[in-house]
């Protein structure tokens, strides 16, 4: 199964606004994407509850996985998102 390993770049970790942006992006992908922290169980990346419950801090390594047509593109896009400091980017609706 295609996977991407990525380090959380957002200063506050994968919480609050970064988590929301990530979950929204995951839900917008054409394929189901899952995320796991270290050796933990993988959870749906489009679940706000599950992503919040990961408790992934700044600098933590997470693994994204997906399968099927478009999986690689979806993984690249989401990995790109996580490797940016989303806290530093201005909220479009602020």
């Amino acid at each position: 199964m295609p996977e991407r390993t990525v380090v959380i770049a957002s200063r506050t970790g994968l919480h609050a606004r970064p988590a929301k942006l990530f979950v929204q992006a995951a839900a917008a992908q054409g394929v189901p994407v899952r995320i796991r922290l270290g050796a933990g169980r993988s959870v749906p990346a489009d679940s706000m509850l599950a992503v919040m419950a990961l408790g992934a801090e700044h600098g933590a390594e997470v693994v994204l996985e997906a399968e099927g047509p478009g999986a690689d593109a979806a993984l690249d896009s989401l990995a790109g998102l996580l490797s940016r400091d989303l806290d530093a980017e201005e909220a479009p609706d602020a």
Partner: protein, 608 residues
């Protein structure tokens, strides 16, 4: 021991209707009837199917509790359902069916919350409901529910366990995320009720005005309360300082708390609620309800038409003042003679550092300017106990209510008090006001001396103390040698005089402001005030009770301070009684052996 009001024993005494001075009549009390649904005036269509009373049949007759929100109302009872109890697990059901049932319940909850979000007029409430609807439809939650069903759990347990799992996971992450755990409790309660066919937890929505009955009400329960359809509040538990009582006064709703048997009144039953005497009467018909509503409307009109300074029927003046937290609490439609308690905590809460001098000056000045030439009593910071402030850096105390709170904070951090007094003095200069200042939690003459010296050194001329500690009440005469006035905080004074935690629901009877022991302390202070020719105010919830306010005046209290909705009913109650009547009421209340008898005896005196 005061007799606990544990058993739902209806009394057969009815209180006189307002304006009816015939005294107490004897109604045909029907006792603790156990005949569900035989009252032909109860519409069986809505009464049926939702009777989830824990034991016995519906209660009828007259129930008695503590009246905490003045006024009368009548309507049909709808109960706030509690969290649904989880039945014993059922094994061996078809996993596919349980899975579908659990997912159906969550989908129903999500769409219900979404509909409520769309209907909510308050944008903040709408956003909260929408976020909750997303949680009910969360893919991770649904995946966990499906997994549980596949493992053989029945639908209710599959939902319960999935919510519990995420709840624990969020709590483990901590911080702001842990606060979302409460959302999962709400989703869990709604979805489990949906699976089990139980009433939806939360405020009911029968589609017409109703009397809301609950075991007790928490702030979260009432956040979205539609005051257009709730006629009155009745709770089985809770005390005079409970959230229910505070909410009722804020909304101007009649309310009765600590009313045994309330939650066993049949759903849909017509009741009358008297928030002054604490009486809840079943067995009334629609016609009688209409008559009560007509009288209640007439009362409200009379109050709305009345105005001006507070005075008794024979013209003895009693200042009617407001309790406020900031200038935002000042409502133009409420006619009051000033502010009797300006709590300044709002400036300090949720702060990492103490608010600066300039910020404080601006906040105080705004309030002073709202009452040009009027009285404004500023209470200096009342921190500690249930209001811990991060910037004070106080450690955890084993007994915070008995710890470093109120004026005691100045022992270790005098600069916080000095800056606040500087800011009050500056705001007074800027606005030309002559504010009154008082310190919370004064216990000794030495503390009063110290506070008075700090305040007077800054040119503040009207310096007083809150009386919340019984030791201070007993030394009221000596305090008044140093101070210009006293203000009784009856909520804390009850807590400390009766050694009963204000938040402790089971001790509500001890915290009843009608406790003769509390009234005796008020009486001591009022006597000292009269001797010194100095004003004695009451700014606790006691002042807002229209039956108790005349008692306080009879004891010698010179001003009453309360939240805005209570002003008109209290003004009305005083205007109906002469000072002599108030003094009689005071004697009656002091003579009684317990609060219930005190209240009944004074109510039986009737107005005028």
């Amino acid at each position: 021991m005061p007799e606990p009001t544990a058993a739902p024993v209806p009394l057969s005494e009815t209180a006189p209707l307002p304006g009816n001075t015939a005294g107490t009549g004897t109604a045909p009390g029907t006792g603790t009837g156990t005949d569900p649904g035989t009252d032909p005036r109860v519409d069986p269509g809505t009464a049926a199917g939702t009777d989830t009373a824990a034991s016995g049949g519906p209660v009828t007759g007259t129930l008695r509790g503590l009246g905490v929100g003045p006024g009368r109302a009548a309507g049909r009872v709808f109960r706030m359902a509690g969290p649904p109890p989880l039945p014993a697990p059922v094994r061996g059901r078809d996993p596919g069916r349980e899975r579908r049932e659990a997912l159906r319940a969550l989908a129903a909850v999500a769409s219900e919350l979404e509909a409520r979000a769309a209907a909510a007029s308050d944008p903040a409430a709408s956003a909260i409901l929408e976020a909750q609807s997303f949680i009910a439809a969360d893919p991770g939650l649904l995946e966990s529910v499906e997994g549980n069903a596949a493992a053989g759990m029945d639908a209710a347990h599959a939902v319960d366990a999935a919510c519990a799992g995420y709840r624990e996971a969020l709590l483990a992450v901590g911080g702001l995320i842990a606060e979302r755990a409460a959302d999962l409790d709400d989703i869990r309660n709604r979805a489990v009720a949906e699976v089990l066919g139980l009433p939806v937890p939360g405020v009911p929505d029968p589609g017409h005005p109703f009397v809301l009955v609950a075991d007790d009400l928490a702030p979260a329960d009432t956040a979205g309360l539609d005051t257009g359809t709730v006629l009155a509040l009745v709770t089985e538990r809770g005390g005079p300082t409970s959230h229910t009582a505070i909410l009722a006064r804020a909304l101007g709703l009649p309310a009765v708390v600590s009313c045994p048997g309330a939650t066993r009144i049949g759903e849909g039953t017509w009741v009358s609620v008297d928030g002054t005497t604490g009486e809840v009467r079943t067995g009334i018909g629609e016609e009688e309800a209409a008559e009560i509503r007509r009288r209640a409307t007439a009362d409200r009109r009379r109050r709305a038409a009345s105005g001006g300074p507070g005075r008794t029927a024979d013209g003895h003046p009693v200042e009617l003042l407001l309790n406020i937290g900031s200038a935002a609490d000042l409502r133009p439609e409420v006619e009051a003679e000033g502010v009797g308690l300006f709590r300044t905590e709002f400036l300090f809460l949720d702060r990492r550092e103490a608010p600066g001098f300039d910020e404080q000056v601006a906040a105080y000045e705004e309030v002073f300017r709202a009452f040009p030439g009027g009285k404004v009593v500023v209470r200096t910071l009342d921190a500690g106990s249930d209001k811990p402030l991060p910037f004070l850096g106080a450690g955890r105390e084993p007994n915070p209510a008995l710890g470093v709170r109120g004026l005691r904070v100045a022992r270790g951090r005098p600069a916080v008090l000095d800056t606040q007094l500087d800011a009050i003095a500056e705001a007074a200069r800027m606005s030309g006001a002559e504010p009154w200042v008082m310190a919370p939690m004064v216990s000794t003459v030495a503390e009063a001396d110290d506070f008075a010296a700090r305040a007077r050194a800054r040119g503040l001329t009207r310096v007083g103390a809150m009386i919340e500690v019984p030791a201070a009440a007993l030394r009221a005469d000596r305090l008044l040698e140093r101070l210009d006035f006293l203000s009784l905080g009856t909520n804390d004074l009850s807590q400390y005089a009766f050694a009963a935690d204000r938040q402790h629901g089971e001790l509500a009877d001890l915290l009843d402001p009608w406790q003769p022991g509390l009234l005796r302390l008020v009486s001591e202070c009022a006597r000292a005030g009269r001797a010194a020719g100095k004003p004695i105010g009451v700014c606790g919830e006691a002042a807002a009770d229209p039956l108790l306010a005349p008692v306080l005046v009879g004891l010698g209290v010179t001003s009453l301070s309360m939240s805005a909705p209570s002003v008109a009913p209290v003004r009305d109650a005083l205007a109906l009684r002469s000072l002599e009547r108030c003094r009689n009421d005071a004697r009656t209340a002091l003579e009684a052996d317990d609060p219930a008898r005190a209240r009944q005896a004074v109510a039986a005196n009737g107005p005028s």
